[in-house]
């Protein structure tokens, strides 16, 4: 569990964001991620209360598919910016096991370096991380039954 996680997609986001030194442009980058996220990945029928993540200013749905103990997330929000953020989270941390998800911490979110963006904190990327971890644990437990 303490082995270094291989977070390819995450590293790509971090790298891209590091290249942008203008905050406004970093903000636009998130919007771009949101715009590019294929809505088709998130089936309309999944937009139900059971998949809602609570505590956000706009609705956020997150689902996961488990394959060989690894979690593959997708997320959706009506708000583009929130969709951008949730997409960064779900793409970054897909493919991990429940234990690996648990090993993630606040620093992983902080390294995305969106701290200066109000919206980032508003929608609570930390809350999203906690939500992914909860989903990771939930299915692990279910599997142990």
């Amino acid at each position: 569990m303490s082995r270094l996680l291989d977070l390819e997609k995450y590293d790509e986001f971090v790298g891209n964001l590091e290249l942008i030194d203008d905050e406004d442009m970093r903000f636009e980058y998130i919007i771009d991620v949101g715009k590019k996220a294929g809505d088709a990945d998130f089936p309309e029928v999944m937009k139900v209360d059971a998949n809602l993540m609570h505590g956000c200013m706009s609705k956020v749905w997150i689902i996961d598919r488990v394959d060989d103990g690894r979690h593959y997330f997708s997320g959706f929000s009506d708000a583009i910016i929130v969709k951008g953020l949730v997409t960064m989270m779900t793409e970054s941390f897909s493919g991990l096991t429940g234990d690996e998800l648990d090993a993630l911490n606040e620093d992983h979110v902080r390294k995305l370096n969106l701290g200066a963006l109000t919206t980032q904190r508003q929608v609570g990327m930390l809350a999203m991380l906690a939500h992914l971890q909860k989903l990771g644990r939930r299915v692990t437990t279910a599997a142990a039954d």
Binding site: F27, I31, D78, A79, I80, T118
Partner: protein, 424 residues
């Protein structure tokens, strides 16, 4: 002391000619307005959530702590007397501002939320029985819904809801249709915090009183835009909150008619609200002190007194005229934006604009505005039932204060255009 801008040319609004003021001079009274946000000048359109504070208020707070702070109503020493005088003087200033018959009508609370809860917990618990009806409107803030729901839970009262029309307007006939012989209280907002709709409180109160019902007004958004004359309105209760009237956080007001306040049991128990305490029996003070248990928000009340003096010097009529003119300008400029839609277009509304932009999520619009330095509020504005009724999930709200000028409006309009560009 107060460095108010000189009044300028006379200015017509609704027939009466009042003095307008030079907004740009007034802006200089508010230190925060000269700050930047993300490197852009701050444009503050969130005064409906809480207003910014003029220097006189900030200085008054500092002065209180630096030169005469003490607890009130207790010490026999000089500072205690000074602080008590200042605190009670604030009550007098507030009473006069509201045209209350006496400062004894003014209970100092911690917020309008507490003011309303106080009435529900004392007057409501004592006088409302199962089946009694409380009328509210569809556009209430949660602060004027949840306390009555809690009382419904406890007592089995009935809550009746006056609908608003599609344009957000409020009609007395809709209200009259809710009245019945069981109506005991009408608890209603004076101005909707989302739509800006004004409720004709004076007429409504006359009608309610004819039916023997009492009237409580949630004046949180009313008093800041138009002042209040509680005797002219003849309401039984009028609550408001200091931080929206350019005063400190942490202080609110409840006005009550003398006989009504006297009929009420205490709210909370503690020091200052009692005459005599033994373990067997305790006797309570007269209003307003009966309702002020414990150390009150001393410096906050004093600071609110300073805020009231500030708006009085500008003149509530001038403030209304100024806001009205900025609102009209905003409505005209915003209407030019394609896909822009104002939510709540009742005639003669207060200076609050809720809006949507076709195809864009309000959260995204507000976020882009924020990045341009334009502070608005987005979401349900603590008025979820109103959102449900309007069939929307939320809006972006630009709420105006006395300091908003046309340059602010221009920044808002440019910000929305930019949002459309970035998000489409």
């Amino acid at each position: 002391m107060s460095k108010l801008s000189a009044l300028t040319e006379p200015f017509g609004t609704g027939g009466n000619s009042v003095q307008a003021f030079d907004v740009d001079k007034v802006r200089a009274d508010f230190p925060i307005l000269s700050r930047e946000v993300y490197g852009k000048p701050l444009v503050f359109f969130d005064s409906g959530a809480s207003a910014q504070k003029p220097r006189v208020v900030i200085d008054c707070i500092r002065e209180a702590y630096e030169s005469y702070y003490s607890n009130v109503h207790r010490g026999a020493h000089y500072l205690s007397q000074r602080a008590t005088d200042a605190y009670e003087e604030a009550r007098v200033i507030i009473a006069k501002f509201m045209n209350a018959p006496s400062d004894k009508n003014i209970v100092i609370t911690s917020s309008v939320t507490e003011s309303i809860n106080l009435v529900a917990a004392t007057w409501g618990r004592k006088f409302l029985k199962e089946g009694d009806e409380v009328i509210v409107s569809e556009m209430e803030h949660h602060a004027n819904i949840v306390p009555w729901q809690m009382l419904r839970e406890e007592k089995g009262i009935i809550i009746k809801v006056v609908p608003v029309r599609d344009d957000g307007s409020f009609h007395l006939q809709d209200f009259e249709a809710c009245l019945s012989s069981r109506t005991k209280l009408v608890a209603i907002t004076e101005v909707s915090n989302v739509l800006g709709t004004r409720v004709p409180i004076k007429e409504l109160t006359r009608i309610a009183h004819e039916r023997g019902a009492k009237v409580l007004v949630d004046g949180a958004q009313g008093i800041v835009h138009q002042g209040v004359d509680v005797q002219a309105l003849d309401v039984d209760f009028y609550g408001w909150t200091g931080h929206k009237l350019y005063g400190p956080s942490g202080v609110g007001i409840l006005y009550g008619k003398a006989d009504v306040l006297e009929s009420m049991p205490p709210f909370q128990g503690g020091g200052d609200m009692i005459v005599r305490v033994t373990f067997e029996k305790t006797t309570f003070q007269d209003p307003p002190h009966r309702f002020e248990a414990g150390t009150p928000p001393i410096v906050q009340a004093i600071g609110l007194g300073a805020a009231v003096k500030y708006v009085e010097e500008l003149g509530m009529k001038s403030i209304a005229a100024q806001e009205h003119s900025t609102l009209a300008y905003a409505q005209q400029e915003l209407a030019d934006i394609e896909g822009y839609r104002e939510v709540g277009t009742a005639p003669d509304k207060a200076a609050i604009i809720s809006f949507l932009v076709d195809g864009l999520h309000p959260f995204d619009v507000a976020a882009v505005l924020d990045r341009q330095g334009v502070a608005t509020r987005v979401g349900q504005h603590c008025a979820e039932p109103l959102m449900d009724r309007m069939g929307i999930e939320g809006t972006v709200r630009a709420s105006f204060g006395l300091y908003n000028n046309r340059a602010d409006v221009d920044a808002l309009v440019a910000g929305i255009r930019k949002a459309k560009e970035m998000l489409s």
